[in-house]
């Protein structure tokens, strides 16, 4: 087959790599070093009208939950699909664990590293492995268990105040996800409700459905899909806050689910 095992093959493949890096560099060079002034029309428009039209003081959230919410929906969908895909691939892997090939001859360094990781188990959550883990100490469990709830609250703060301060659904969601990981690591026995992947997956689906309903809610008020149904009302930021919360739940549940799956703790 095409394996470049020969010396010539190796040189040939390095030459190909150099060539393609050079070709890409040639195309990218003008774009990366462009020095025309940055266009400011959008910025000026937002500074003048952004708050009035969406209600958000944080202009970044006025864009991704207002003007360009369609993109955000697509992004949450990518997240949803990636989580489901990772889950299905990894659950297939588990059935292979026992009969993984065992020929050690001629393994590269990376393969050996892979073996070492397999032996230590990393942060693996599957219970029978727990005692052999080098990385899961009592100290780790005590700290993560105690700090988890605090981080969870902080995540919700970032999520709910995204319209007035740096933060928002995505940032808050990521913090919530790390809180979920901490809670899972810190409660090695039964785990908490949030370390149950079934709960997380239902939460994720519910947030996805809510997100769809919210983006369609403009229909009832004559704005059509993806409009802000509260535009023109006294406080249009309510819509942004709700959306931030939903996006945050969605991201938190998805990423938490992803991390727990990767650590082998899904049910």
């Amino acid at each position: 087959m095409a394996t470049p095992k020969t010396r010539f093959g190796k040189i040939w493949s390095k030459a190909g790599a150099v060539l393609s890096v050079a070709a890409i560099g040639f195309v990218l060079f003008p774009i990366f070093l462009a020095d025309n002034p940055w266009p400011v029309e959008a910025r000026d428009y937002l500074a003048a009208m952004g708050q009035a039209e969406t209600g958000a003081v944080n202009l970044v959230s006025s864009i991704y939950l207002g003007y360009r919410i369609f993109d955000t929906l697509g992004e949450t969908i990518v997240l949803l699909v990636a989580v489901l895909g990772t889950m299905s691939i990894l659950s297939r892997v588990e059935s292979l664990v026992d009969d993984s090939p065992a020929d050690d001859a001629g393994k590269s360094g990376a393969d050996k590293a892979g073996d070492a990781l397999k032996k230590s188990g990393g942060f693996s959550l599957s219970r029978e492995k727990r005692h052999s883990h080098t990385l899961r100490t009592d100290l780790l469990e005590a700290v993560t268990g105690k700090i988890g709830p605090v981080i969870l609250i902080f995540g919700f703060y970032v999520m709910l105040f995204g319209h007035v301060s740096p933060g928002g659904g995505f940032q808050g969601g990521v913090i919530v996800a790390s809180a979920i990981v901490f809670l899972t690591l810190g409660n090695p026995g039964a785990g908490t409700l949030l370390s149950n992947t079934r709960v997380l997956s239902t939460l994720e689906t519910a947030a996805f459905l809510l997100m769809l309903l919210l983006s369609s809610s403009g229909l009832l008020f004559g704005q059509g899909f993806f409009g802000n149904p509260m535009a023109g009302a006294e406080n249009p930021e309510v819509y942004i806050i709700i959306l931030n919360a939903v996006v945050g739940l969605k991201v938190g549940a998805s990423l938490g689910f992803l991390c727990i799956t990767m650590m082998g703790g899904h049910k």
Partner: protein, 114 residues
């Protein structure tokens, strides 16, 4: 010529080298992350030259930066994370079926099985 832009370009090309020149699939995934990071840094850095303050209103006399790149990159980052997660899951699967992270060895192994 701006030095920092050149550095970002180099970061990008190093990442691309990782994808093309390395045989280890984990390194390839690192490379993908690097080029993604380079694109994000470029967009954010250049977008931030249009002002001096964060795009959060509320005070008088702010000279804010363009918030559009930041909002767009938020999306791009999340997508990058998703793709990485998926790629890693596939890498684990490939390791389990072939016993190797080397792309050529994996190809040989998989090809023989089919």
């Amino acid at each position: 010529m701006k030095l920092e832009l050149l550095l970002i370009l180099i970061l990008f090309l190093v990442g691309f080298w990782g994808i093309v020149g390395k045989n280890n699939i984990i390194k390839k995934i690192f490379g993908l992350n690097m080029i993604n990071a380079a694109a994000v840094i470029l967009f954010i850095l250049e977008g931030s030259r249009s002002g001096a303050d964060a795009p959060i209103l509320g005070k008088e006399g702010l000279h804010i930066v363009d918030p559009v790149p930041q909002a767009l990159m938020l999306t791009a980052i999340v997508i990058g994370v998703c793709i990485t997660a998926l790629a890693l899951a596939l890498a684990v699967h490939l390791y389990r079926v072939s016993g190797s992270f080397d792309i050529d060895r994996i190809r040989d192994k998989v090809h023989n099985e089919n």
